[in-house]
Symmetry: C2
Subunit: 209 residues, 2 copies
DNA sequence: AAGATATCTTTACGGCGCCAAGATTGCCCT
DNA sequence: AGGGCAATCTTGGCGCCGTAAAGATATCTT
């Protein structure tokens, strides 16, 4: 999907260096890990001088922001897909969780960047905003589909937050702990994730109301 | 509790430099944030040359390991305290969760290092080990206290894992999202944490068995 | 007292993020 | 068409980083 050196004649002006840099960063992230990702290495990978990226990104963190943004878009799509394919709303909640964790497992380095850059900005500016907002809303709306009272904003936020935190926690743990025992006993990684979400009974408490 | 420069006569041999370096690192971490923590800065803070730390730690990551280890010890103590003070086992589960998240909120930089160093080791070597193992076991045992079947190892692991992931997820989110709305509505940060754990109903599913 | 050992310093190397100045190119305007 | 301009890319350089090697100094052992 991309090349380490410029195509062939490497013209002085790279066609779309911004795009190439994001791709190079993503590739390095997945292959070498986050610690190996330096701006200079990204430039090298894109076949360009160390200072070239500064014409497309203010600094290193802005490049990572771009990588993270693409990650959020992909995650949003994965959530939408899981929601659409679920048999019913209650099951959709679990399946969204599974899809979330699977995304993190398949793109561990990107997933990490997604939260690291958010963290380095010191805070999401009050209750989510931007790309990830869309994913958050999908989860919240699924709670409504599953029978939550749309009027009770507080309960909705609480349920969504609890679900989101659980998924994020499991995603992080799954990326460095093996859970071999449980995965084997339950018949694979995905089955294990599903079991965790079922155990948390995300939709269960709604039915009690 | 410590000094930026050596005490007074700054003898050639620092009394306990290892200790001083861990303290300096912790201090820098909390005041300047993780990005500002360089080995050289730690040495500077301890009033010592840039190469001095290498006589006490193999490299930078080993220093951070030491900081993380102290963090796990503190967290373990906080969990033990919450468990001991809870009115009953079912409530203990929620209170352990609250204590966990409160620890992360009070020591955000250390908490981050605790998981970062684990992550950089590529994996906890198969299902936890070392200091944090102790904390994990306390949670698992509390599930038994709360009525879980001690024979059903799989269900125990699953319950403990689900609870741990939820707590970790909430801890991470709370450290960069404000949740202002929910915190205000529920009467403070701690009340918000408690509400999340109550909503997850950690002990609830046990009673259904 | 003397040598061995542990601890700390100095010096140095390569890599990093980033900035400023210069080279090269595509684009727009007349 | 051609001349100027702004965008893009390169070179060179600064200060910081992690860390290795070699030398200085204190403590321990005998």
């Amino acid at each position: 999907m991309s090349n380490t050196q410029a195509a062939e004649s490497r013209p002085y002006h790279h066609g779309d260096l911004r795009r190439a840099l994001i791709d190079a960063a993503t590739r390095l992230l997945e292959t070498e890990g986050p610690s190996a990702l330096s701006l200079r290495a990204v430039a090298r990978e894109a076949g360009v001088s160390p200072a070239a990226p500064y014409h497309h990104f203010k600094d290193k963190s802005e490049l990572l922001d771009a990588v993270a943004a693409e990650g959020w878009t992909m995650l949003d799509a994965a959530i939408a897909k899981a929601r659409a394919e679920a048999a019913n709303p209650a099951e959709a909640l679990d399946e969204i969780g599974v899809a979330y964790v699977c995304f993190a497992r398949k793109n561990p380095a990107i997933y990490r960047v997604m939260y690291d850059t958010a963290r380095d900005k010191e805070a999401f500016p009050v209750d989510m905003e931007g790309v990830e907002d869309s994913a958050y809303c999908k989860v919240r709306d699924t709670f409504i589909d599953a029978g939550a009272n749309p009027e009770d904003a507080q309960e909705l936020e609480l349920a969504t937050t609890a679900a989101w935190c659980s998924a994020h926690g499991l995603a992080e743990m799954a990326n460095f702990k093996q859970f071999e025992h449980l995965k084997d006993a339950l018949g694979g990684e995905v089955a294990f994730f599903r079991a965790v979400f079922k155990r948390l009974g995300l939709a269960a408490s709604l039915r009690e109301d």
